[in-house]
């Protein structure tokens, strides 16, 4: 098990940090993830890239227990969960979900609620905020993602890029320590995707700890601090973005990048 630390040296126990050790997931004999390790500092942005079926999304989804890992430990922002025979207790899982926010490829906005309600409902139910408090936070976030005028609209009337930005606002409303992005722009046309990537870039600049599964190589190289390359359920390599992109150490990484970048 080799940990590769970030470019800043800081204690792991900082609240925004992520520590994953020995994460694995198997269906019977079939191993979907094996021995994945990751240590992130607070404020770090890591992009996860790799061929389809490599387990990138599965790994991400294990971090907030949308998928159940069969082995390993996850420590995020003070919440610690160990996978294994016994299912982790509810309190730990809830803590894990509170400190993480997730943005999905298919946005998953609640279609029967207005944009405002999409952002206020989780606050009221999970944080216990009052309606007024929740709406104040929502308005601020809508400003931040550039869609303040859409508050009373229903998601169906918005474009994909707008919906995704609202989804980001919804996740941010709960004050997560770490934001998880599962192919946030894969379902969007390239030009539309740019507006979402721009919001994500701003978020990174503001110091949010982010883990992004993506096919957007430009984003991976320009915005993230490190890139983690996955293949066949394991980590092929992980290192500073520039280095991984221009001088990959692993042969498979090289093949993948070649296929993806030369078109």
């Amino acid at each position: 098990m080799v940990f590769s630390f970030g470019t800043r040296t800081s204690p792991i126990a900082l609240s925004g940090a992520v520590l994953v050790s020995g994460l694995g997931k198997s269906y019977g004999d079939h191993k979907v993830l094996s021995d994945v390790n990751l240590a992130m500092d607070e404020g770090e942005v890591v992009s996860i890239i790799g061929p389809s079926g490599a387990g990138k999304s599965t790994f991400l989804r294990c971090l907030n227990y949308l998928e159940t890992p069969t082995e390993g430990t996850i420590t995020i922002g003070g919440a610690r969960v160990t996978a294994g025979e016994k299912r982790p207790d509810k309190a730990s899982l809830n803590h894990l979900r509170r400190v993480t926010g997730m943005v999905f490829q298919s946005f998953n906005l609640f279609p029967h609620l207005t944009v405002m309600e999409n952002i206020t409902l989780p606050q009221r139910k999970v944080l216990g905020s009052s309606k007024a408090q929740a709406e104040e936070v929502a308005e601020r976030l809508l400003q931040r993602v550039g869609l303040p005028e859409k508050a009373k609209q229903y998601p169906a009337r918005l474009s994909g890029g707008q919906q995704q930005r609202i989804a980001i606002a919804r996740a941010l409303a709960l004050n997560p320590k770490v934001m998880l992005f599962d192919e946030p722009t894969s379902a969007l046309d390239p030009e539309i995707g740019l507006e979402v990537l721009s919001v994500m870039r701003d978020l990174a600049d503001e110091g949010m700890t982010m883990l992004v599964v993506t096919h957007e190589m430009h984003f991976a190289r320009d915005v993230s601090d490190r890139i983690m390359v996955m293949g066949n359920g394991g980590v092929l390599e992980i290192g500073p973005s520039e280095q991984v992109m221009s001088q990959p150490q692993n042969e498979r990484t090289r093949q993948f990048l070649k296929a993806v970048l030369d078109r």
């Binding site: 907030n64 949308l66 809830n94 979900r97 993480t100 926010g101 999905f104 998953n108 609640f110 996740a171």
Partner: protein, 215 residues
């Protein structure tokens, strides 16, 4: 002559509507419990709910009515004709509505539950605020179709003496010997009410679809 018969039969409209909609609402409520039971992690609850649904649906409505109206008194439970009719139809409606809800629930994309999960919304909150409102809207056309079916089934209540449309039509047919006319009028009433239900539900459905494209 037509006018008199028409007036006489129209007396039954009230009870027809009452029996139909009371059963629809009560059955709809019980159906919610049933579908929750059918999806319960506790095996016994699941078994009971599934058994209920499968037993109720395979027995003809008229048999249920007779069983409830004539049979229950042996348990010292003597219901009036209207009560027996509503109990019977609610029972049947609950089973069919549970199936309708089940389809509605199945059609909600997993992504909705995943988003709720990722946000930290608990199961109860997710079911109450996210899943049920959407499932209900998806199920609305099927519910309307079932309501029309229930309306037609309600004619059976006449066999245990409920004074609804068919009962009066029978009466008129026997008294005036205008059988054809009486039942054409009765039929017309049923068709008109069905059309009203169909039109109203289409309007509601279109409005809902325009406002919120359901996921």
């Amino acid at each position: 002559m037509i006018g008199d018969i028409l007036l006489s039969i129209s007396q039954g409209i009230g009870l027809t509507l009452y029996v139909t909609f009371a059963s629809l609402i009560i059955g709809g409520a019980i159906g919610l419990l049933l579908v929750a039971g059918a999806r319960s992690p506790i095996r016994i609850v699941r078994a009971v709910a599934t058994l209920y649904i499968n037993v109720v649906r395979v027995i003809p409505p008229i048999t249920w009515l007779f069983l409830i109206y004539f049979g229950l008194p042996q348990f010292a439970l003597r219901l009036s004709t209207i009560e027996a009719a509503i109990v019977g139809f609610s029972l049947i409606a609950s089973a069919f509505m549970a199936e309708i809800y089940r389809s509605g629930l199945l059609s909600i994309p997993d992504g909705q539950r995943e988003a709720a999960h990722a946000l930290g919304l608990g199961s109860l909150t997710t079911v109450r605020h996210i899943v049920t409102p959407q499932a209900f809207r998806v199920a609305l056309p099927a519910i309307a179709t079932y309501a029309i079916g229930l309306l037609k089934d309600s004619a059976l209540a006449s066999t245990i003496g409920v004074h609804e449309i068919t009962y009066y039509a029978q009466q008129e047919a026997r008294q005036t010997h205008e059988g054809l006319l009486s039942f054409i009028i009765a039929g017309a009433f049923y068709i008109i009410i069905s059309l009203i239900i169909a039109v109203v539900s289409r309007r509601v459905d279109i409005t809902l679809r325009r406002k919120i494209g359901v996921a």
